[in-house]
């Protein structure tokens, strides 16, 4: 099943007429020279044509609501429907970002409470909810580290240390803020090479960006020591929160010694991934970074909630969005957190970890190679197909594509970059054991199939709306928008 482009269904004179206000167009208030002369290229279709088109398009997607989606580092867990419904209560949807505080107490109470929950769950001193995605949370984090050093007159700290296993956003963020990035290698067990760290840390060190468990899916055991080394050198520690799902209620970044942390609420707090967002990348800070938090933050005077702005936080790194970020996403995260509650927080990490370790054990039993076989898996783990690649040319891409035919979304592939032909697998706590077992069977079946018919596997997928797509052509012969055929 494929679907025509809506532009191909479009005809001049068609419209979803109920959706126009039904007025005569009068542009007399607009100077002639500023008016538009051509009709913009938008589809002209009836309401049903649009509804049918987008409904059918939606059916072409894999999603959590329809498929197991073990995309490592993305935490594709169940998004409770209550979170969506309640965040979309009409009063929340209609609230203007500049509505007076007197008429926003209900909304502000939710934001205040969410700050508080995130603070307590991470062990940080304060939280700002404003960053609109993880990458913006990282930006805020590094920006605060810079502001901290600057406020102390410590102006030479221009280097950010990043383990080689880090998410690409970490070095990209440091670079956006004008820092020099220095990579720290990882040792064979997946831990940061502490000696290498000691060798580079020094008076130019602004800080280190670390994720724990790392992207290798293992817990950084020497974290306290690392924190000591960096702190002793005058640097600060930044925590990338893509992996909070592994440690919720088990260990807190604040207790590990981190000075700033971002939390991907669309991962751990189960707000929707939405085909690529919106995310929400709230930041938590230690006491010393509190003055620098991005605004706005919600404060409370007695019974009344209010915005904290530049007046309250004169050293703030400023605004990252015109308003307070992805408010509707924050509402969803808040609702989820309240349903989980204290006990539920613990269980998230427990069962995410149980599922990952179980899946790892089952795959190992089937002969797959784990990247770190001696380590506990955290919420995710890595299988490397190095052996299969060498022996039968079976690549991570091949497995990923063939998995689709088995009704499973693929794990993350080729990340982390350091592990050859890797599958980064994150089952999340919401999947049942039968699904994990079926996934193991599918991977084993693909491997078996590849042994006898590698061409079949390389031709996959066969049951999707399209077969394997030509990415090279996509990048070389750029076709980035529909151009109607000349009449």
């Amino acid at each position: 099943m494929t679907e025509k482009l809506l532009f191909e269904v479009s005809r001049a004179g068609r419209a979803a007429f109920a959706q126009a206000p039904g007025v005569e167009i009068d542009l007399s208030a607009i100077p002639e020279s500023l008016r538009r002369k051509d009709k913009p290229q938008l589809p002209e279709v009836s309401e049903m044509q649009a509804v049918r088109h987008f409904t059918r398009l939606s059916q072409l997607n894999f999603s959590i609501d329809t498929h197991f989606y073990p995309l490592g580092s993305c935490t594709m867990k169940y998004n409770p429907r209550a979170c969506n419904k309640l965040a979309m209560l009409p009063q929340f949807l209609s609230r203007h970002p500049l509505a007076p505080e007197s008429h926003s107490q209900g909304f502000l109470a939710c934001m205040y409470d969410l700050q508080d929950i995130l603070k307590n769950v991470t062990g940080m001193a304060a939280v700002s909810l404003t960053p609109m995605a993880g990458a913006q949370g990282e930006f805020a984090g590094v920006s605060m580290i810079q502001a901290y050093h600057k406020a102390r007159g410590d102006l030479e700290r221009t280097e950010i240390l990043v383990p080689d296993a880090a998410h690409g956003t970490n070095p990209a963020t440091a670079a956006m803020l004008g820092c020099t990035v220095r990579e720290i290698p990882t040792n064979a067990d997946g831990d940061v090479d502490v000696d290498a760290l000691k060798a580079v840390v020094g008076p130019k060190t602004a800080g280190i960006m670390l994720t724990n468990p790392s992207t290798f899916g293992v817990f950084e055991r020497r974290i306290k020591e690392i924190a000591g080394i960096v702190h002793d050198a005058g640097g600060l520690l930044y925590y990338d929160g893509a992996n909070l799902n592994a440690i919720l209620g088990k260990v807190r970044p604040g207790d590990m010694g981190f000075d700033v942390i971002h939390m991907n609420l669309h991962k751990t707090f189960s707000t929707p991934h939405g085909g690529g967002g919106p995310g929400a990348g709230a930041v938590g800070v230690s006491e010393r970074l509190k003055p620098f938090m991005p605004i706005p933050v919600v404060g409370k005077d007695g019974d009344r909630y209010r915005w904290l702005t530049e007046q309250d936080l004169p050293q703030t790194i400023g605004r990252l969005s015109a308003w307070m970020g992805n408010a509707g996403v924050l509402l969803r995260a808040y609702i989820y957190a309240r349903m989980l509650g204290r006990e539920g927080m613990h269980r998230v990490a427990e069962f995410a970890t149980l599922n990952a370790n179980y899946l790892a054990a089952r795959l190992a039993e089937k002969g797959f190679d784990l990247a770190f076989p001696k380590r506990r898996a955290s919420h995710e783990f890595i299988v490397t197909l190095k052996k299969q690649k060498q022996e039968i040319e079976l690549t991570a891409t091949d497995v990923a594509k063939r998995l689709l035919d088995h009704g499973f979304h693929a794990p993350t592939v080729y990340f982390p970059l350091l592990v050859p032909e890797c599958l980064l697998i994150e089952p999340t706590e919401s999947e049942d054991r039968e699904t994990l077992d079926a996934f193991v069977d599918a991977l084993a079946a693909i491997w078996d199939e590849a042994k006898t018919d590698i061409a079949k596997v390389k031709g996959a997928p066969y049951t999707m709306p399209v077969r394997r797509l030509d990415d090279v052509r996509a990048a070389r012969q750029l076709d980035l928008r529909y151009v109607p055929p000349a009449a």
């Binding site: 979803a16 007025v23 290229q41 002209e44 999603s63 929340f92 500049l98 209900g106 993880g134």
Partner: protein, 452 residues
Amino acid sequence: MPFIPHTENDVKEMLAAIQAPSIDALFDEIPAALRCGTLEKIPEGLSEMAVTQLMQTRARTDGFALNFIGAGAYEHHIPAAVWEITTRGEFYSAYTPYQAEASQGTLQLLYEYQTMICGLTGMEVSNASMYDGASSLGEALLMAMRANKQNGSGLALVPRTVNPLYREVVGSTTPAQGVQQVFVDHDPASGQTPLDAFKAHDGSKPTAVVIQQPNFFGVLEDVDAITDWAHAQGALVIAVVNPTSLAVLKAPGQWGEKGADIVCGEGQPLGAPLSSGGPYFGFLTTKMAYVREMPGRIVGRTVDLDGKPGYTLTLQAREQHIRRAKAKSNICTNQGLLVTAATIYMSLVGPDGLAQVASASIANTHALLAQLTSIPGVEAVFDGAYFHEAVIRLPVPVAPVLQKLADAGIFGGYNLAKRFPELGNALLVCATETKTPEQLAQYRDALAGILA
């Protein structure tokens, strides 16, 4: 155990397979001293019923008001189909389409979005979204720095008529890479930024010149002349535009002789509810020449093994997960779901519907201004042509008046006192197509009563 499917038996058998004695043992690599306790400050879990009651109570606390605030976030009618389809699980709970073959729904939709937003802005290429309007301006400026090596100073001429909150975000996010905003004043009579104000910067070799149309006061700028001047200076022109207005206003791609180079703005008016300021989405379009300097995801059409057309993420070599510290931006997750809504919105209103939305909004704001300035002591601040916002001046300070209006169920506008104190008791008001003549009169009567 909400959201956990495991039975006790499952746990037992799974632990056996792992050869671990307990779930707790799975955390044995975490140093014991670091293990946290029971999170006693987190409240106990609530059932969905209980949390429903809590959220309903809080929502009702805030209630509904008759809203005349704009200032960058606009109340428009959103067709019911938009969010009924957008929140379908297949859109709502999918992620970035890394496996293109299993994500053709999202990918084709994004390709259609790119086409539509190029159509509105009159540009050649679009990315798949930025976080919001303010951050898209920041990224546009960084992109201009990469694209305009000739005028590489980082100097950006930015009218004060550009949304002040956007200018603040730019100030928080771009100086580290060398962007330096120089603000250009507006004409106090018209509310426009006159060409002469730019000409004061003749020869300054600006990297970029920003033009917001309509500007923050709702007033229409002389975009053609400014664009041509900027290009003569070797600057790239960055247009900040309201997408609704583009149904009736000249597309930035047609500004001046050569058109704007980068177009950005807030996508919220295209189907996103006001929702306390987010999630919205930023759009960003440009000329094909600059496509490799664009940040963010881009979808392209290609073919599959059988030669059948299909859609996939492309030009990923620009992005952080490949290029790391050399990426064009650190953006990764964007605002996919909002783009889904916007694409459905644009498909439902179509070009003629969107023009009607714009026209009705223009008419309502003009009618509102006539109503409000009929009150003794209330006057229009500017005489320039305006779109769907305008500035009025009250005879008394604005803040207490707004509070009284709010208590009467009316959000009267955005108080300009803090960011534009020179305008006196100035108030930015907005009436989109959603307002009825009765509601305009209701505002007038309430304001007249307060000022009487």
